[in-house]
């Protein structure tokens, strides 16, 4: 562990310390046993926990299944990464809201489908906020399959794919069998930190659970959040105890993941002809749902009213003038997002170069740990330390909080390529007597600029999607499109649809901009499009 990694590990530990302090009852002055009693007296707590694990596990399995199939397609066809980036940048909550407005009874999708299927259009059914959490699983499955695919593709590019394919062909395996039998197990071995990120996020997220999660009882993340923000100190203490217990359970699950990740020899030959078809069906359905969610957001943002028995809504384009009320949150989102992505990319470059200098060739687990930590304890712990250090909530703490979440994403995206540099180039540069800084800014940053711009866009998208950090570290005063969206969810549908639509589009604009910048800046650099490792091919 380098000193920088130790520092960041300490930063990660501080919120947990704050949480333990709160759970122990230093602030409430109540013995922790009463906090445990209060937590245990929560009705249907066990149902909440079981339901949350079910949602987390099933959405993880679906995401893995889709990622496995899509990765095969991407590594075989060198598909353009833009569409994956777009899906990756889409905020969870905006997508969840779009799905809610599309699929629930009275939603756009149902209004269109019901006459075709000959069902009553005013039928009442319990989806997507269903008792099995299928709505939340659907939304998480779509988003997390994009995340896992992105990481899996990065890992796959480091493997000697040509050799695998040649050997597989000689052994009489089809390209599909080669992927499932030889390549995917290799990817999976390195993918586990990302898998754990998906599991933790699915288990503890707030936004998707609030919008699409079941109601009675709610998922555990929502219930702990409600306890933590309750004005009653005993409830807050119970919430802290619940979160610490959750962290301990996550630690145990991490150990299980480690055991499952041990290399296992398998002679079983993958010959499931239907697997690729099912995966394709999944990806097509997911694409259709994303389109339907976006269209629903657009329709509801201009709809005055729409009786289910009427074929078309009564719309008013005039309602779009309320977009001006989102100007301040829009500007704040831009400011916070831009500052976050700039700082995150700069810090990531510094950390990576320092790691290279120290002879490392892999990203340390501490960066993944930032993504394993549920957002709520992290944000509330930072807030406690902010007060302790005499600070107060505001824009800068929000930017700091966003950066700490966005930084690991940037590191994960860039690290493999950064570490995978040709040793001969490094030696030549050292012999040229250029200083470390000069080498960094004249050679390594320009060579990786394409990926750095994309990572910056991803950091921007991450910042756009953060709610808990913004609301807690901003003291409620920092208004972003995400806070607007959450305030309007459960209130006026037209406003929430509009906020959701803009929230959905903003990261897409960032990715498109990144794509165009790369196209423009690399137009005369033929042969260097491979982000550094191009020359070694």
């Amino acid at each position: 562990m380098t000193p920088i990694e130790r520092l960041f590990a300490l930063i990660l530990f501080l919120p947990v310390a704050g949480l333990i302090d709160d759970a122990y009852g230093r602030y409430s002055g109540i013995n922790w046993v009463y906090g445990v009693d209060r937590l245990m007296s929560e009705p249907a707590l066990l149902e909440s926990i079981l339901l949350s694990f079910w949602v987390a596990l099933l959405s993880l399995l679906i995401s893995l299944f889709v990622a496995r199939a899509v990765t095969q397609k991407v590594v075989n066809t060198h598909d353009s990464p833009l569409w994956r980036s777009l899906l990756l940048g889409m905020p969870h909550s905006a997508l969840a809201l779009g799905l809610l407005l599309a699929l629930s009874a009275g939603g756009v999708g149902w209004r269109w489908l019901a006459p075709i299927l000959d069902f009553p259009v005013d039928a009442q059914y319990l989806f997507p906020r269903d008792r099995w959490g299928l709505g939340a699983i659907l939304s998480l499955g779509i988003k997390e399959s994009a995340f896992l695919t992105a990481i899996a593709v990065i890992i796959a590019k480091r493997l000697p794919l040509h050799s695998y394919r040649a050997i597989a062909a000689q052994a009489g395996l089809t390209p599909s069998e080669c992927h499932h039998q030889l390549i995917w197990p290799q990817i999976l071995r390195s993918l586990w930190p990302a898998i754990f990120v998906v599991f933790v996020f699915s288990l503890t997220n707030l936004e998707v659970s609030l919008i699409l999660g079941p109601d009675q009882p709610q998922l555990i993340g929502v219930r702990l959040f409600q306890l933590l923000i309750d004005p009653d100190p005993l409830n807050r203490q119970a919430g802290s105890i619940g979160l610490i217990t959750l962290l301990v359970i996550l630690g145990l699950i991490w150990l299980v993941f480690q055991i499952l990740n041990r290399p296992q020899a398998s002679n079983k030959r993958w010959s499931l002809p239907g697997l690729d078809v099912v995966a394709r069906l999944f990806t097509i359905s997911f694409s259709g749902l994303i389109c339907m969610a976006t269209i629903s957001l657009l329709i509801w943002s201009v709809t005055l009213r729409w009786n289910v028995l009427e074929p078309f809504p009564i719309v008013s384009v005039h309602t779009l003038t309320s977009i001006f009320s989102l100007l301040t949150p829009f500007m704040t989102t831009l400011l916070v997002g831009f500052a976050t992505s700039t700082i995150a990319v700069c810090v990531a470059v510094g950390i990576l170069e320092y790691s290279v200098f120290r002879g490392h060739d892999r990203l340390h687990w501490v960066w993944w740990a930032y993504l394993w930590m549920p957002a709520l304890p992290m944000a509330s712990g930072f807030l406690a330390w902010l007060y302790f250090l005499g600070g107060s909530p505001g824009v800068w703490p929000v930017i700091l909080g966003h950066t700490l979440i966005a930084l690991p994403y940037v590191l994960i995206i860039v690290s493999d390529t950064w570490f995978d540099r040709d040793i001969r180039h490094e030696m030549i540069l050292k012999q040229s007597s250029m200083s470390v800084c000069l080498r960094l800014f004249r050679v390594w940053v320009p060579r990786h600029s394409r990926l750095l711009v994309l990572a910056g866009a991803l950091a921007f998208a991450v910042s756009c999607a953060l709610y808990t950090q913004t609301v807690l570290l901003g003291g409620g005063r920092v208004e972003t499109l995400m806070t607007e969206l959450i305030v309007t969810v459960g209130s006026e549908r037209r406003s929430s649809a509009l906020a959701g639509l803009i929230n959905l589009l903003l990261p897409l604009v960032a990715f498109t901009l990144a794509f165009l910048i790369n196209q423009f800046s690399w137009r005369h650099r033929a042969g260097m499009q491979g982000e550094g490792y191009a020359d070694s091919r």
Partner: protein
């Protein structure tokens, strides 16, 4: 006699002069201050109203108003509690709060409110501070610690094209639900409107209505609420989605009603339906009604926390909101439609005209039709009610 009269007159004008100079001093201090106003941000109409009057207070008094939109006031409340706990009595992040009775009772109990201020506001002279719904909030005396801002009244909303004779009591509502399964529901407690619905059922069903105005007692709770649970147990299977899910808020219920998926919705603002008709969100045939035995009514308030950074600015902002112009503007359904707390009989004829000229819209009931409001149960009953509802219906999926 003459001397006594002169002394009294002198004292009267002296007091007036002191009062005026005190307020001038407050206005002087307020100039240039940033006021952070924490208020629910889920309604574009209310947000617009606050924004417009925020610009006016800036122009008139030099106070910069920042509306911090919240979906749950618990979060800022927690910040105030933390400050109290660590003994930080100044530079708080909240200057003005829009709170309900439950949170007021909690803030008052925990000493989170500053000094009494309502009587120092020049605009308060037009408000009847002896009004029972202003003296007490959820049966807890306000003691000038929070300023009345608007009046609330539980009303039910229906479309006269769909229903000719809406149910006018909880018993009739149950009969209606049985005949029209899935067409009624209520917001999920502890949502404010959901809890209000529970309280309305409690008031209409309990045998011990007098207990409810007194602080909660666990011995009385079971016998007071037994008819409530019996009623809800029989009602739930006939509700929207067979009572397995409840809308998150009254706003979600409004959308379901507007979509034609519910027959009746509810609001705590008697002008709400008219405002939505004007806005185009409701059909023009939508109307409002109340139960024959009356419905819950109360007043909503603005409070200043003990550690407000801009207390003078907060006072100036509240004073402006309680002024005749702001209250008349707020009462108009085309703006917000929130009934005024001003006693219009105290106004000059010119000012009274401001209120009389407000078109309340087609769906607003007259004050005679609204009748006398039912008093809220004591604030201490709210949490046990919500906890009991959750314990009874959470995880009890059929």
């Amino acid at each position: 006699m003459l001397i006594r009269s002169v002394v009294l007159i002198g004292l009267f004008f002296g007091t007036l002069a002191t009062y005026a100079s005190d307020w001038s001093e407050t206005e002087r201090q307020a100039r240039g201050q940033n006021v952070y106003f924490y208020a629910w941000g889920g309604s574009p109409a209310i947000n617009k109203y606050i924004k417009r009057w925020g610009a006016i207070v800036k122009e008139r008094n030099g106070v910069s108003l920042n509306h911090v939109k919240v979906d749950d006031i618990s979060l800022p409340l927690q910040g105030i509690q933390t400050a109290k706990r660590i003994g930080k009595s100044d530079y708080g992040s909240v200057d003005v709060l829009w709170i309900n009775g439950e949170n007021f009772a909690r803030m008052k109990r925990d000493g989170l409110l500053g000094a009494s201020f309502v009587s120092t506001l020049p605009s308060a002279k037009n408000i009847n501070l002896d009004d029972p719904t202003i003296i007490a909030d959820f049966s807890v005396t306000t003691d000038g610690l929070e300023a009345p801002w608007g009046r609330a009244r539980l009303v039910f909303i229906y479309d006269e094209k769909r229903i000719s004779n809406p149910p006018r009591s909880m018993q009739e509502m149950y009969e209606y639900a049985k005949e029209h399964p899935g067409r009624l529901t209520y917001p999920e407690p502890p949502n404010f409107h959901g809890t209000t619905f529970l309280k309305q059922v409690l008031l209409e069903t309990t045998q011990h209505i007098d207990w409810l105005s007194e602080p909660y007692s666990s011995e009385r709770f079971d016998s007071a609420t037994e008819p409530l649970w019996k009623f809800l147990d029989s009602l739930h299977p006939h509700l929207w989605r067979t009572g397995r899910e409840f809308p998150d808020s009254a706003e979600v219920m409004m959308d379901l009603f507007s979509d034609g998926l519910l027959d009746i919705t509810l609001s705590f603002n008697p002008n709400d339906a008219s405002q939505r008709i004007i806005d185009g969100r409701f059909a023009s045939s939508v109307r409002t009604y109340v139960h024959d035995g009356g419905t819950i009514g109360n007043t909503h308030f603005l409070a200043i926390p003990f550690n407000a950074t801009a207390r003078a600015g907060a006072l100036v902002w509240i004073n402006l909101l309680l002024g005749t112009e702001a209250q008349a503007d707020k009462a108009s359904p085309s703006v917000w439609g929130d009934p005024t707390v001003i006693d219009v009989m105290r106004l000059t004829e010119e000012d009274r005209l401001l209120f009389e000229s407000v078109d309340l819209g087609p769906a607003t009931l007259t004050s005679d039709a609204l009748g006398t409001p039912l008093s809220e149960p004591h604030a201490s009953w709210v949490e046990p009610l919500e906890v009991a509802w959750k314990a009874r219906y959470f995880g009890q999926i059929q």
